[in-house]
Symmetry: C2
Subunit: 485 residues, 2 copies
């Protein structure tokens, strides 16, 4: 086996071969895998490479370790087919959203509601005491900063910490280029302001994050949605066609765990995407907010890591992975870095210095990696449980995404089912879901819903998921009988 042959590390070649065998049924559920020693001998690699391969498969939930017995092929929850790839029209559109999205957002956080409407992880998933200690420590040590007017694009400490963090995404960022923002959304808004003007065309995944459409609308930009299958992210051939035939100014993507589809772009395509935007001399705005939640380590690598020409603007935050209440985002604008610094300094200004230092403190702590590993495992169990409940209770013909991490599920209901009517029926029973129509600038996904399962998760949540399935079943029966009549 030759590591240099295609640039894929040895452990990943082994892991992916075993993954294919598991998915094809060659290795069956519950079947025992070779031990580390057996696998190393069999593949003529070092034991540590064999361990890496097995860990990758474990992170991908394809195998599970049993103490003192070794690794076994995991029992995946009852499988439903995945949603179909979208086929948006190859034309850009002015974004004109109705009030639905804002209403769902407001409702999703109402107390007393059983909510699958938001994409916010619940506070109990995080080590609140660790965050509090970081905060108290910083305020104690730097109380003068509470009364110091901050200027510039962020404290040096936090920019260094973010640059060090970004090494884990495969990126070498310069602390001086980074701009700290109040959120990832503000970072993305800044990028769009720097590279577009009203009327310009921006390419997006289809379906795409509702908040992106809102930004495009507020900046008077046109949306061009690109087909995005549930597993591999934006179809680059379709993007290529769009870049060749339309006046596209920027591509806005979430290559890892796109919201709402949960797709992860393969590493080779990330590289190609970086090359494509460089060739066409346009900006790629890459949102890496979910990268740390990807089960497979190679999917945490950013497109920016392949960017040699400065065309990739990378935006992130730690609101989904470390401390949702800090309200800090960050951005490196590549060749547009200076423009970003300027817009930020003029239109909003520096962030709260003690909050930046608390984030730097948290990022520099040794425990961060372990905390993330635990967060991923908890969320994976939730997603598995939710998918099993959906398979068990939703009407026949339902499809559901199988995201490689995170806490968002995209559900395609059987044809004929109106997701808006289902949303209304659920709200009447104090259950909040996000109707699919929110996630496109065109009238699409009207039979889809997004379910966020990272929020509060009590005894009532599995019951509520079953109830959504039952309501969908009833509505389908009515729809079929109406068609028959």
């Amino acid at each position: 086996m030759d590591e240099a042959s295609n640039g894929t590390p040895l452990y990943l070649q082994i892991a992916e071969r075993l993954a294919r065998a598991i998915r094809a049924g060659t290795l069956k559920r519950g079947e025992r895998l070779p031990s580390v020693r057996e696998l190393a001998a069999q593949e003529t690699v070092s034991p540590s490479t064999a361990v890496q391969a097995l860990r990758w498969l474990e992170d991908a939930r394809l195998i599970a370790a049993k103490p003192r017995s070794g690794y076994f092929v995991a029992s995946r929850p009852a499988a439903l087919p995945e949603p179909q790839a979208s086929r948006p029209a190859p034309r850009s559109r002015v974004v004109q959203l109705d009030e639905l999205g804002q209403a769902v957002l407001r409702q999703s956080v109402l107390p007393g509601l059983i909510s699958f409407g938001a994409a916010c992880p619940e506070p109990d998933l995080f080590d609140q005491e660790r965050v509090r200690r970081a905060f108290t420590r910083v305020v104690q040590r730097h109380r003068d900063l509470l009364c110091t007017y901050p200027l510039g694009s962020g404290r040096a400490e936090v920019r260094r910490a973010v640059a060090r963090y970004a090494l884990g995404l495969g990126c070498e960022l310069q602390p001086d280029d980074l701009v700290m923002t109040s959120s990832c959304m503000e970072a993305i808004t800044l990028c769009l302001k720097a590279v577009t003007k009203a009327g310009d065309v921006v390419d997006l995944e289809s379906p795409t994050y509702f908040g992106f459409l809102e930004i495009l609308q507020s900046l008077h930009l046109r949306a061009l949605e690109i087909p995005t299958p549930p597993r591999h992210g934006m179809v680059l051939a379709a993007l290529q066609l769009a870049l060749e035939t339309q006046p596209v100014k920027a591509v806005l993507v979430v290559p890892t765990l796109s919201n709402p589809m949960g797709s992860c772009m393969p590493v080779a395509e990330r590289k190609r995407l970086a090359q494509m935007v460089a060739q066409h001399d346009i900006a790629l705005i890459e949102d890496v907010i979910y990268n740390d939640l990807a089960e497979q380590e190679d999917k945490r690598r950013a497109v920016r890591s392949f960017d040699a020409s400065g065309h990739v603007m990378i935006c992130g935050s730690f609101s989904k992975t470390m401390a949702p209440g800090l309200r800090l985002g960050w951005v490196d604008g590549g060749r547009w870095a200076q423009a970003l610094h300027k817009i930020q300094s003029v239109q909003s200004g520096a962030q709260t210095a003690v909050v930046e230092l608390a984030l730097a403190d948290l990022l520099n702590q040794a425990g961060s990696a372990a905390a993330l590993r635990q967060l991923r495992a908890t969320l994976a169990r939730r997603v598995d449980e939710a998918r099993a409940l959906i398979a068990d209770s939703f009407p026949k013909g339902t499809r559901v995404s199988d995201p490689g991490g995170g806490f968002i599920l995209w559900v395609e209901l059987p044809p004929g089912l109106d997701a808006l009517a289902l949303y209304a029926a659920c709200m009447a029973e104090n259950i909040c879901i996000a109707p699919g129509a929110m996630f496109s600038a065109s009238p699409r996904f009207r039979h889809c819903i997004r379910l966020g399962v990272g929020g509060r998760w009590g005894e009532e949540h599995p019951l509520a998921l079953r109830r959504i399935g039952a309501l969908a079943g009833q509505m389908l029966t009515v729809a079929i009988s109406q068609r028959a009549a």
Copy 2:
């Protein structure tokens, strides 16, 4: 005397009459004023009204109390004439700033520099321990908020505290209408986004705050500068003409302690300004960031307090008056409140909840008023010292503003002096000043400089002020001899 006759409270009628007598020289420096009892008898008012009148004069630094002896006409520092009223061209201009302003801003905070370049008060002017305790208390009690994703326009606690605070500005604001922002500048940016589009005309004071021009430039708005004398703020007759003859979409003003001129609009004109924008159905964007620093209590009253139609958008922050490091601003958008909520939620999102709660804690503390009184007194002494130094060391023909509070002085140098050359000469000696050209979109104020005296104030600062005067004197001598040659 009749309180209802013109709407001016009795105490203010008395105080203003005495103020005119002092300014006219009818009452001379060091002369004793009537006692409270004498004044009350003389004016046939209650003793408490007499006390109010004397306090007003004391806040205005026109009189000073001597323990056990009563009030005396204060010794004002050696007086220089005030700057002349500006006469900008009555045409709007596209804002095209050079790099000067950004350079000054960066330099003004460089360590090792003696800086009069920034408009930021130094940390030692504030009770850092009080702010730290508020922070630590909040983080201890609400540590779940550090890990809770905040949604909406601000915590209810902070919006209530700001609404209560605004009562002191004469405004009844509804907590639900308020949007918390990351700064006063972000608040103003949001207002402009809500009521203008690229190419629209915005009226400003002349000279105006450099940061406003930067926002206008970044939003592609046109600036129309309105004459603004040093004492009474924007000339409303000139504004009226502009509103009648030009397609003005918004007026952006700092009615209290405008930056850099330090002027305060009289109360009657505030009322008229509110009526004018209502009649023309355009937005007034009122920045009240300095209102708490006005020496005269009636000048703290906001234009918004006279707004019956929702045309006044009011923006503020506590960065100059309570804790410059908190990074929180606020805005009530009047009839545009809903649009502001929307833009903020889409383009940047909620602020850090614990910072909001710390601010609410501070605002609700009983000690805030006393802390402000002390801050005003400290700054007044600084301003007096700086004005005396300028009168003593700057060349003949220099004019300087006499602001009714705050920490910013506007200096008009004798004709023929180039403020940019003076700025360069000062920088060569590690002294930072802000050249006047920064404060207009047109080529004006080239013989003016702005001096901020709220920053660090050590032994070297008075010497540096004298040095600026000496450099200006040398340059003037050279200029005169060149003209003669």
